[in-house]
Symmetry: C2
DNA sequence: TCACTTACTTACCAAAAGGAAACTATAGGT
DNA sequence: ACCTATAGTTTCCTTTTGGTAAGTAAGTGA
């Protein structure tokens, strides 16, 4: 059974879990980060090509979910071939500093973490 | 096929995706937040009961992964029955402000987001 | 001898996430 | 008549995630 937007009202009691669950997927944070870096609105294929390895389907559902949450604005121009542009809303922009903070932390501590992982695996081999 | 710790070296090229992928699971952020709030180290069952709806298995793998990354320190006392205590490392503590920022953002914008979701669903019904 | 405790591990299973490829609409170009 | 382009949607499939329940170790107390 597929999960639909309507089913996302779980954890309604806990704002933190409810909201952060949304960013636990594979692409949301990346898309927000990307739209945040870009000064102007981006087209669908522009986003897809910049990310590189996202499927059309997943980009669509990611953007739709972000739109539903009010994080991303979708502007559809009724032309042919179609043109659709995406940009962060004020809400989306207000999240940016926080995930940028996370991202900077990740970059800064990447070495420490990978070394820790290797050490942990090595220790495991000795024990088993 | 199960994913083992050893297999986590994907996205090695992108620190952000590599590190943040780790927090995309159901429990990691919650466990860090919890250990961060607590002044003293916490025992396994203490963590489990505070969270409430986490399974033993998932708490074990979550803590192991955080330990492997160097975020959490595990202290094992060779007593019977066993006693194991967990607390954040300095690395783990350095992440706290960032996810606390996220959490506060989530609380602050929870209303806006749930309203946006409802509006989006309502609009969808009209169109289809 | 049996139950009880803690902190697990393991096997099995259901659900969810996500990828690949084909299909869609529509107009313009050749 | 066919190809191109954009931004999707749909179907089918595999992979990943996470839950349940049972089993494990090892000493203590009844």
């Amino acid at each position: 059974m597929k999960k639909k937007l309507e089913d996302y009202d779980l954890h309604a009691s806990c704002p933190i879990r409810n909201v952060l669950d949304r960013f636990g997927d594979k692409w949301s944070i990346l898309v927000i980060l990307l739209l945040g870096e870009h000064k102007t609105a981006m087209r669908f294929n522009e986003v897809a090509q910049t990310i590189g390895d996202i499927s059309q389907k997943m980009l669509t559902v990611t953007l739709r979910t972000l739109e539903a949450d009010g994080m991303v604005m979708r502007k559809h121009y009724p032309e042919i071939p179609p043109r659709v542009e995406y940009e962060l809303t004020e809400l989306g922009k207000s999240l940016l500093p926080h995930i940028n903070g996370l991202a900077q932390w990740a970059v800064k501590n990447y070495d420490t973490i990978t070394k820790s992982r290797k050490k942990f695996i090595a220790k495991k081999q000795l024990v088993s």
